[in-house]
Amino acid sequence: MNPRMNRTDVKPSVTPGVRLGQVSFVWRPWIVCVSLLLAAATFLVFCLSIGVGDFPIRLPQVIATLLGRGEQVDEFVIMDLRMPRALAGVVVGIALGVSGALTQSIARNPLASPDVLGITNGASAVAVFLVTVSGGTAAAIVSSVGLSAAALMGGLGTGLLVYFLAWRRGIDGLRLILIGISVSAVMEALTTWLLVTADIRDVAQAQAWLVGSLDDRSWDEVQVAVWGTLVLLVVVAGAAFQFKPMHLGDDVAAGLGVRYSAVRAVLLLCAVLLAGVAVSAAGPVPFVALVAPQVAMRLARCPTPPMVASALVGALLLTGSDLVARTALPVSLPVGVVTAAIGGPFLVYLLVRANRR
């Protein structure tokens, strides 16, 4: 069926719609263009990132191999050695971008992100605890569920704790952020205390985890992150329609027939889980979740964080940072260092801009 534009019967001020059979949606060409460009850029950086290494592979060969027409040597290097890392970058970026877009939309505040809401620090505290505390139980937990899964549970637990502490006849954005910052600070203090008191060899391992890195990802770890993210994205996409009026506040949303408490609880849980999946796959990569939705909003010229564009900006930022971390500098840096170097100044820019208004 051909797409039919319904734009001539109304004045151009009202957004035109597009109809494909039973499906109809708002047609916003700018956002579609921006999203396609972001997707293309992400794919390019993804391929470049795969090509970089001790055994460099040029871009055409990378693309040929991805399409299944490469040489056998390239195929082994790409599919077995480099693909998990590159894919982890994309998936973690998407998860963080969407998680940030959700938390910022729910709190109606651009400063809300999984970092600020304590999810990241909660996961870190648990991971550092398990690494540094030598003892039967900790070792047993790590060996049975793995450090990543334990960190995921830590992040999830902290996120839920913040949600319930902030709940007072509904969720107020500012209250959520303040409680998130407080709980986050406690978790950070706990992490610092563990690092100071722990054995120096364990500290090195914990520090490596804390910076956030895509090094040495295995297919098994990446698969968990990919499937987890996919399932959560389906849930988010399903709830996204009900979420649209919630940018106008709870009362207006209720007036428009949205059961906002339920929608918000589901989406906040998705945000926490997405951040948790990201942290468990790559460690606490800072600032991506905060910056990606804000960049996406400005690129897509949206008043609220656009989900698809936020996901793509997150993926581009993370794969791009990883590429920079591995190539532009004489020493190979963990990706978390580069995202912090880009994200930190951007946060300052946002704050300065808000102050001047």
Partner: protein, 279 residues
């Protein structure tokens, strides 16, 4: 009770009211604001709830619009218990404008008003030409068509309130609940918004609103609900209800009620302590 309609639209005369509260008790946490209250909203007219600060007028409006759930009693909408209806179905019958709503920075007027179509949309059918037509009409009716591409936050207070009312209109209901639609507006803009509310009433809407200004309430309403301490002191046409005794009882206000020199409604002249010359 005043049920005389000036709309020319045939209101459902077989039912006394479209919206009513029956024995509702509402509060926040342990604090009870409204205790065992009965009220019926007459169809086809403008009903305004007035009363001193903290008397429960906003609470009553929020209860009628199912934003607050009564701990006892029921709210009845078109014969059904509102608590048993799907919130989406309620949104197709009852439009609500909360007090001082805030739009995200940068959201355009057309996009805000378009959100009013939400109760009529679904995941697959997110936007249709019907929606576009209704939004276009809502913009025109509230006189904000020219502002359609402007960001809501760049408008003046009066324009902004028109835009929000436009969004509520786009919902396509003939029952509108407005919580203090004139908050933060100067008198000229308040009159402007209330003239718009009167236009909506003329076009067949039943309106329930909360107002602070008694003279504006008297001028623009056909039915006044006067509240104090969570219960209703009086209800009826402004001419019948607004007396010096009632104002003293409800607000503790000394006032003289005279004939409005430019209208057929009563005019309240408050008597303070200074600059007063009483005969």
């Amino acid at each position: 009770m005043v049920t005389q309609s000036v709309t020319g639209v045939e209101s459902k005369s077989d039912q006394a009211s479209r919206l009513a509260a029956r024995g509702v008790t509402v509060g926040y946490g342990a604090r009870t604001v409204i205790d065992d209250l009965d009220v019926a909203i007459p169809p086809g007219v403008i009903t305004t709830i007035i009363g001193p600060n903290g008397c429960g007028k906003s609470t009553l409006l929020r209860t009628l619009s199912r934003l607050l759930k009564p701990s006892k009693g029921t709210v009845v909408l078109d014969g059904d218990d509102i608590a048993r209806l799907r919130t989406r179905d309620v949104a197709r019958k009852l439009g609500l404008l909360p007090q001082a709503p805030v739009a995200p920075e940068g959201l355009t007027v057309a996009d805000l008003v378009a959100r009013g179509r939400h109760p009529h949309q679904s995941w697959l059918r997110q936007w249709s030409s019907d929606d576009a037509d209704v939004v276009e009409r809502a913009l025109a009716m509230t006189g904000v068509s020219d502002l359609a591409d402007r960001p809501v936050d760049a408008l003046s207070g009066g324009q902004r309130q028109r835009v929000w009312i436009s969004m509520t209109l786009a919902q396509g209901t003939d029952l509108l609940l407005l919580d203090e639609p004139t908050t933060y507006l100067d008198l000229a803009h308040a009159m402007d918004v209330l003239d718009l509310v009167d236009d909506l009433h003329e076009s067949g809407c039943t309106v329930v609103m909360v107002l602070h200004d008694l003279n504006l309430a008297a001028r623009y309403s056909d039915n006044l609900i006067v509240m104090r301490g969570g219960s209703i002191l009086a209800q009826g046409h402004p001419r019948d209800v607004l007396t010096a005794e009632l104002l003293h009882e409800a607000f503790g206000l000394r006032a003289k009620v005279i004939d409005d020199p430019v209208g057929d409604r009563p005019l309240i002249v408050p008597i303070g302590r200074t600059h007063v010359q009483l005969d």
